[in-house]
Amino acid sequence: MSAILLEARNLCISFGGVQAADGIDLDVRDGERLAIIGPNGAGKTTFLNICTGYLTPAAGSVRFRGRDITALAPRAITRMGIARAFQSPQLFHEQCVIDNLLLAAAARERAWNPFRPLRERPERDEMVTLLELFGLAEHAASMVDELPEGTRKLIDIAVALALRPQLLLMDEPTSGVSSLEKFRIMDLLVNALAVQGVTSVFVEHDMEMVERYADRVAVWSSGRIQSVGPPDQVLTDPAVMRDVIGV
């Protein structure tokens, strides 16, 4: 069995009267693709927010490669090797695609020479190769805000991968993308993750995607984990089918 990369223990947090995390225990293993499913409001995004330092849990802890990251700021967690892609793409919309990636590469390399232009960074070829993995090399010079939502989502993921993370957390990577496009996008994404050897956790609502792309699936329900296991077992569990899939 692979080593444990991320370890969440007894995470608890509530917003008003809503318990968004109620004793969450979850391990993410090195090299796997873990899908998180569950109804809206179950606490899936809250889990990602806690793991990336956006929220501090009322109780519990998160360890990454054995180190406690529970109270660290997002930038500190990012520097340790956890990157994040958002449900709504978070990009620098006044900059072109390649500049978005180059800034991530400069952050990764801690390259802050104030007199060397970003566009002359030596990581430029690497970033173009990264864009090629997503089939986006032709958009390198395009302004981000001129591109469609699906493309911006991929760029958001590419920016996260430009950090060369060990773990990538993604919130609905194919939401807002047409059903014809999402398998193509997910194939590209899975290929890019494999090329870079990145472990991933993704929140997903589409069971077909989960079945096809996840190694394991965790089912969220009212701030708790209802079930964890391989997709073929979890998705055929009658309770999961009733509560989450709605069959």
């Binding site: 930038r75 994040r84 978070q90 020479n113 007199f115 060397r116």
Partner: protein, 323 residues
């Protein structure tokens, strides 16, 4: 239409040669260059979407440091005064910056204003140290070891300011295109993503703030020796507003715009004051209104439109980001 591309170089050359034809104009042009340096500091912060309504405090702090050094040592070299002014305002920027970079937009602007008014009040009220509203006299410093006559010193100061302005433009231009400068722009567009790249937005803004304060300080030291007197008015809020005004006039967020705006501002101000002493502020107001209504990207925006008209499909250039 190819000459349009060389327009900035022609204008710089014209400014450099103007004092030879009209010698008395060099004082006004030196003032414009000094203010241009301070405006360049404001432009750096505008890149992050932050407007400082208190940047004159660094201008004044540096000017007073020049006055204290001249009085304390009974004379000093211009190079030392400029360096000391920059260091003084840069250090002050680092201390004040630690506090103000925690805030954004109107709060950032107002906090800067508050700090500048504290400094203004200190300069005004500490009469025995600062000379109060009468200010302090600043003698003529040596020029790299040489004692120059008044006219020769003014000419040397003007050309030194021109060189400093050019160097500052180049440095800031490179800075704004570096990863740090691009991260500064990113504060305006998406601070969340910046944090998730592992970059501290506050730290980036603090570096820019110190640079911005040092630039204002450089301008303040120039103006102190150019005028020969420093008064608390150098740090008054109206002066800070003037810097923001000029930044918009020149083209918000543009390096060359800072100096284009400062030159036009000073010349319009000078001639408006000479020809219509009672209403020159109104004339300046109408000029700004005209710029906002008809050329919202300032003089630099006008120039970029001219270039676009002259060469609409220039090939071989990667697209520049919006500013």
């Amino acid at each position: 239409m190819r000459f349009v591309r060389f327009l900035p170089a022609v204008l710089v050359l014209a400014v450099a040669l103007l004092p030879l034809a009209v010698p008395w104009l060099k004082i006004i042009l030196t003032v414009a260059l000094a203010k241009g340096l301070a405006v360049l500091g404001v432009v750096v912060l505008l890149r992050a979407g932050q407007v400082s309504f208190g940047h004159a405090m660094f201008f004044a702090a540096s000017a007073y440091s020049a006055a204290f050094l001249m009085q304390g040592f009974g004379g000093m070299d211009l190079a030392v005064l400029l360096l000391a002014g920059m260091l003084c305002s840069g250090a002050m920027g680092a201390v004040i910056g630690l506090f103000v970079v925690r805030y954004r937009y109107i709060f950032f602007g107002m906090l800067n204003l508050a700090f500048s008014m504290v400094l203004y009040a200190l300069l005004e009220k500490m009469f025995h140290v600062t000379g109060g509203s009468d200010g302090m006299a600043v003698g003529r410093p040596t020029y790299f070891g040489f004692e120059l006559e008044r006219t020769a010193f003014e000419t040397a100061l003007f050309y030194s300011s021109l060189v400093l302005a050019g160097a500052a433009c180049w440095c800031v231009h490179r800075f704004l295109r570096s990863p740090l400068g691009e991260a500064l722009s990113a504060i305006r567009t998406n601070e969340t993503r910046l944090e998730y790249l592992g970059i501290s937005a506050r730290r980036v803004l603090l570096i820019a703030y110190v640079l911005s304060a040092a630039l204002a300080g450089l301008g303040g030291a120039v103006i102190a020796v150019n005028q020969g007197v420093v008064t608390p008015d150098l740090g008054y809020w109206i002066r800070s507003g003037e810097f923001v005004f000029i930044a918009i006039l020149g083209g918000a967020g543009n390096v060359l715009g800072a100096f284009a705006g400062a030159l036009v501002y000073e010349l319009v101000r000078f001639y408006a004051a000479a020809m219509a002493a009672d209403v020159w502020q109104m004339i300046l107001g109408f000029v700004l209104l005209g710029i906002i209504l008809f050329a919202s990207r300032g003089f630099v925006g006008l120039y970029q439109d001219l270039v676009a008209v002259a060469a609409p499909d220039r090939p071989g250039r990667e697209r520049e980001p919006k500013r």
